[in-house]
């Protein structure tokens, strides 16, 4: 692990922790509903101490929107990614461990889902299910599990031939217990590298759905803020730039943290 890698990992983790702190303390930092119209419309950033980052065209506080948006983006991103990874692990372990017909069926389904672009599938799902935070999570989870499933399957195929698995089998443990208690832990390490990517992508998909008006209209989110600011791009570019920076920072920090975590685990494994 190089010094640069370690440094970017620290920076990523610092940004991520800061965003998490903002999201957790949103109600204390910016109390009240961030969708409330509280000030003069289109105040520029740093012009009014009450609204440090200005207001949008309906007089909503941008700072409050960003802070509460962090909560939505990070929660949706994390929950959706966790759900996607769980589905992926389940499918990958079963396919790799059972082999044969079960493997064929599960992998063909995985490939079928993978041929549909993640965002299009999520878009279709939310259009059908309706725009709410829970549905957005479901849509992202259902459209982004295949990479995890394929990775886990490959690892399971490798691990299941190792001696200690044979030993468990000889000891008479149930096949499913062997799959999930013996094989899976050994196959999980590379999945850590996928966490950063999956969470980052989930945040991006959530923002893109919100940008298209397919997020929960009762919650402020970064993507919705950008969509809202697009009409005023020429007179109030900060309405687009600020949430844009927020999304970039969130995805970057998650990705850097994930990479650094994976590299550290990899180094330990080689050692």
């Amino acid at each position: 692990m190089t010094g640069l890698m370690r440094a970017t990992g620290v920076v990523g983790a610092a940004i991520l922790l800061a965003l998490l702190a903002l999201a957790l303390a949103a109600d204390q930092i910016a109390p009240g509903d961030p969708l409330r119209m509280v000030g003069r419309p289109l105040l520029a950033p740093f012009a009014d101490a009450r609204f440090p980052l200005g207001t949008d065209q309906l007089g909503r506080d941008i700072w409050a929107g960003l802070v509460h948006g962090a909560r939505v983006s990070l929660t949706v991103g994390a929950v959706a990614a966790a759900a996607a990874i769980c589905v992926g692990i389940l499918v990958g372990t079963l396919a790799g461990f059972l082999g044969g017909l079960a493997d064929d069926v599960l992998m063909r389904v995985t490939e079928a889902v993978q041929t549909i672009p993640t965002f299009l599938l999520a878009l279709a799902l939310v259009s059908v299910l309706g725009a709410s935070a829970v549905n957005v999570v479901i849509a992202i989870a259902l459209s982004s599990w295949p990479p995890t499933a394929r990775l886990v399957r490959a690892e399971v195929l490798r691990v299941r031939t190792l001696d200690y698995v044979d030993a468990a089998r000889v000891a008479g443990r149930a096949p499913l217990a062997i799959a999930f208690l013996e094989v899976l832990p050994g196959a999980l390490q590379p999945v850590v590298a996928l966490i950063g990517i999956t969470v980052g992508e989930a945040i991006l998909v959530e923002s893109a759905l919100a940008f298209l008006g397919l997020s929960d209209p009762n919650l402020q989110s970064w993507g919705a803020m950008i969509a809202n600011g697009r009409a005023t791009l020429r007179v109030a570019p900060w309405l687009v730039i600020l949430p844009g920076i927020a999304i970039a920072l969130a995805v970057l920090s998650v990705s850097l943290t994930g990479d650094s975590l994976a590299a550290r685990l990899g180094a330990r494994r080689r050692a």
Partner: protein, 540 residues
Amino acid sequence: MDRHFSRRTGAAGLRGSTLLALAAATGLGAAAPAMAQTPQRGGTLIAAADTEPRNLNPAMVASNGVFYVSSKVIEPLAEMDYDEGLRPVLATGWEGSEDGLSITFTLREGVRWHDGEPFTSADVAFSAMEVWKPLQNLGRSIFANLEAVDTPDDLTAVFRFSEPTPVQLIENALPAVSAVLPRHLYEGTEIAENPLNAAPLGTGPFVFAEHRPGEFYRLTRNDDYWAEGLPYLDAIVQRVLPDAGAKAAALETGDIHLTAFSAVPLTDMARLDAIDGVSVIPGGYEGITYHITVEINHRREELANPLVRQALRHAIDTDFLVDVVFLGFATPSTGPVPSSAADFYTDDVPTYDFDPARAESLLDEAGYPRGADGTRFSLRLRPAPWFAQTRDTGDYVRQALQEVGIAVELVTADPGGHIRAVYTEHDFDLAIGSPVWRNDPAISTTILFRGGQPAGVPFANQYGYDDPEMNALIDAAATELDRDARVALYHDFQRKVAEDLPILNLVDFTFITVARDELQNVANNPRWATSSWADTWIAQ
């Protein structure tokens, strides 16, 4: 001759103070001296295209997106006019019979279709009986009682009705519903499938030349137009531009002369107006005023209570909506008739000031006190997704009602889903709607209040509101022949709406045109964007 003209002025629709200030400072002021100049022939007007409707036949689809293109090609019997109220186009005069059962139209002489065939009363009879009445969205109700159109000679068409029909209603409907189609090209064909629907042929000042989907419409001068010396322009091109930002940029650089229907964001108006050579022109849309309404589902027990509906109205600050959501480009409503419609409007109605304290006491009185969490009850609000202003109004109404203890959950859908949810499935508590005022309450307004609409009829009373007195009032006005008596009935109608508040009329708005200063005779009639542009010209 039963031609009752009302004087309308350009300023009638512009009540908002910001709007007047803007008009005085810019567009209208600048246009005045230019009109004194002698019009110049020639030049191509390049405008931003609106939507690209699949069917451009205005006799079938009476909608602004269709008119924007086809009103230059296909003409109505009469068009709206600021000075005369109604300006004759293909009809030169009309007269209603005493019993209200017939209206006789005298048609213009010497008019030819773009293919050279003469225009006659047979074209009018065919359009009315075969297209307006059975196929057109607005004509279906206006001409429901039309039995036959007699054609005693080539220049006379006599409309015969089975029930007394007010001439005033027909007159007010003419600009939008009376586009005349060439019988010789439509008769005997499947009208809805006729290829001319995509490449219209009419009698208008411009000939439809070409449509390249996703690129442009091109209309060229009709050298054989019936009005001597018109049109002034050689051609009109409507360019398809990707979004509002691109339209604003094209205006700045002079790539286009014109955007209509508020195609650039309201927040860009002040910036564009400050640019040399570009003017923001309010006005020219009084004939197509939109309302912003809160549609109410009376099937909800709380909302069926008149006190609750009054409380909702008191809780909403329409001045805030005008100032913030519409940036001054709107007027607070007092009811279902906009104040710019001088013929029918009355301000002698109950009004509801913005008064949250009064709203709270009304809700208490209605039996819905605040609970332990400060909430009285919860409602689901569906804002219509088609205008930024309907969505923003939804955000504001949510906040305003939460202020008085009513929890509001926003529910969004695409346009198709929204129309189905509200007008077919009645799956809403409140909705933000945008009905259109079309010059006469009987055209598209009373349908919002008349009970007994079958589920599935959009932009109609799907609210579960069915009041015998209201129904009787609407029915009486529909067949009242005397103009003054009819107007009086519609005054009663406005009072009844303000008393009952079946839905809440919040603000009225029209669109804004942004044009380059070389373009002349812009916004010079109340339906300008959807009129023929025969007298529009470019100063060189």
